[in-house]
């Protein structure tokens, strides 16, 4: 089975997200980077599926050259190949991103044969456009369903579960197919010693792809108004329990 998983490198902010003075980007001066969480689970799912059914996982990212770091991380948890579509680091709009990823997948399929399954995150952690996976799958003629929290493969059928308020919905697609997954579909493993070696040895493939801009242009990023609260300190340690229960009583939740 051949699986391609698309991941995005995103900053990992703490208590607040700061924006650069020109409002054009998240201020990453003091931040680390990570793989968008839904997609981290996407990589884990891809690896588990190939462990169960055989095959190989290719992880694909569009981003600055540093995004190779996220490909190496994927290799450290079991992905076989990593491919980077390099950008100058500026944020690409969703249509442009989807066009470039579509061409990248077409190129990879010409070289190595079709992917049975494309895995995307339900939405990227930073821009959260809720669309790149859908656009790529549509351009490639593959069925796609998002919000997926469970995948079973049976021959050429993908049975995918989507969480709802009451339980879940089941979808059935024939491969080649695509899914948008959500965190919680699995618990991603941590890299092992052997994984770390594999990640060092990973040869990151590079595909230079240009793609025309879409119709949405980013003007400015800004933070929503801060929540300011006059926090009432009820006390220290267990002695505060009585004051806490008074509050609960006042709220009528006792």
């Amino acid at each position: 089975m051949r699986i391609c998983c698309c991941v995005k490198r995103v900053p990992a902010p703490g208590a607040r997200i700061n924006v650069t003075a020109d409002g054009q980007a998240v201020d990453v001066a003091h931040l680390g980077f990570t793989t968008s969480p839904h997609e981290e689970c996407g990589v884990e799912e891809a690896v588990q599926l190939t462990e169960a059914h055989g095959g190989e996982v290719t992880v694909l990212t569009l981003g600055p050259p540093e995004a190779a770091e996220q490909l190496r991380y994927a290799a450290s948890v079991g992905a076989h190949h990593g491919v980077l579509v390099p950008t100058d680091g500026s944020a690409w709009d969703p249509q442009r991103t989807a066009r470039a990823l579509t061409s990248a997948i077409e190129t990879l399929e010409e070289a190595g044969g079709p992917f049975d399954l494309l895995i995307f995150g339900n939405e990227s952690a930073d821009s959260g456009g809720f669309q790149v996976g859908v656009r790529v799958a549509f351009a490639l003629g593959r069925p796609i369903v998002g919000g997926i929290k469970g995948i079973e493969i049976d021959g050429t059928t993908v049975r995918a579960r989507r969480q709802t308020d009451a339980g879940f919905e089941v979808y059935e697609m024939f491969m080649p197919a695509a899914v948008g997954v959500k965190e919680g579909i699995n618990l991603p493993r941590y890299p092992t010693m052997r994984g770390r070696l594999a990640s060092k040895r990973l040869e990151v493939g590079e595909l230079a792809i240009e793609a025309p801009q879409g119709g949405q242009s980013m003007r400015r990023l800004h933070r929503p108004a801060d929540v300011v609260s006059e926090t009432v300190i009820l006390g220290e340690g267990p002695a505060a329990a009585s004051a806490v229960v008074d509050v609960l009583a006042d709220l009528g939740v006792l």
Partner: protein
């Protein structure tokens, strides 16, 4: 006209659809156009009536064998077919997973931009403020397009009926849909839990890394039970395998809206906060008085949650 997509599940209207109609009413006013609604895969009179109560003047209904149940590709195709034929000035859906997904499908088919989770839309020049990072950051965008495809952020507005309800005209929309679109239609449903869920619980007792272990959650469970609530947790907890992901509060977990959220051993990272900020009140229990969650809470107890939480439960029991 502004066309609003009515999200429903087998004929039951979603709250996101009411929000979209409420948001759409204001937007249509700013655009100076009437609001219509699209009802895909249903002709339910109750849905039509509700669309009218929320201000839709016309409801376009589409029924077709491939629309027997929800299917993202089939719904997206319907919208893509409607755009050139009904010539709306813009299309709007609710910012739920389904709403965003069908708009993305429509946008892919029309090769047009789609702006998800809008908070504010100025139709003059289509300047839009939208949500990034699950609400921790905002982005201003402009659109160059004939027919903007939009969704409004989930709970960006509270659903509200129109001052003057209308009895909408129903117009049947004939769509010639490929049977192959049924490949992504819901095949089966499994109903799991009835009753209180994390997103509807009146009280949530949250635990973070400070809880220290899976077993460490027993006192939190006990307190949640006493208060008829649910246990929630941070991503640090789920990543450690101490709790299932279904308990996670935050950007990539559940958004909660309890009367009170008791957050213990949680620092209050922005991605956790966006899931918790819908709580009416917050009580933080933390060793660190400088913790972000303490700064944002209504009340705080500074101390070790392993001592404070059992003491609260004991106090509740002693008062009963």
């Amino acid at each position: 006209m502004l066309l609003v997509i009515l999200e429903h599940d087998q004929g039951v209207m979603a709250e996101a659809a009411r929000e979209a109609l409420t948001f759409g009413r204001t937007l249509a006013g700013r655009m100076g156009v009437p609001m219509h609604a699209a009802l895909i895969g249903s002709e339910e009179a109750a849905l039509v009536a509700e669309a009218g109560a929320h201000g839709a003047g016309v409801v376009h209904t589409v029924v077709h064998p491939v629309l027997s149940d929800f299917g993202p590709e089939a719904w997206g195709e319907v919208i893509a077919v409607m755009v050139p034929r009904l010539a709306p000035a813009a299309v709007l859906a609710g910012g739920s997973d389904r709403g965003n997904e069908v708009m993305a499908q429509a946008a892919a088919r029309l090769d047009a931009p789609f702006v998800a989770n809008c908070l504010d839309v100025d139709p003059a020049g289509w300047s839009i403020t939208r949500i990034q990072w699950g609400g921790s950051l905002l982005e201003d965008v402009t659109l160059s397009v004939d027919v903007p495809l939009l969704s409004c952020g989930l709970h960006a507005v509270a659903a509200e009926a129109a001052e003057t309800p209308t009895e909408p005209a129903v117009e049947e929309f004939e769509a010639d849909l490929d049977a192959a679109l049924s490949r992504t239609v819901v095949r089966d449903r499994v109903v799991l839990s009835a009753g209180v869920t994390l997103s509807t619980a009146p009280v949530v007792v949250g635990g973070g890394r400070g809880v220290g272990s899976a077993e460490g959650f027993a006192p939190l469970e006990d307190l949640a039970d006493l208060l008829g609530g649910k246990v929630g947790c941070s991503r640090a907890v789920t990543n450690n395998g101490w709790r299932p992901h279904s308990d996670q509060v935050g950007q990539t977990g559940t958004r909660i809206a309890p009367e009170i959220y008791i957050a213990s051993g949680i620092s209050g990272a922005i991605q956790h906060w966006v899931g918790a900020m819908g709580s009416k009140h917050i009580l933080a229990i933390n060793l660190d008085p400088e913790a972000n969650i303490v700064q944002k809470a209504d009340w705080a107890v500074i101390g070790d949650l392993h001592e404070v939480i059992p003491a609260i439960s004991e106090e509740i029991r002693s008062r009963r």
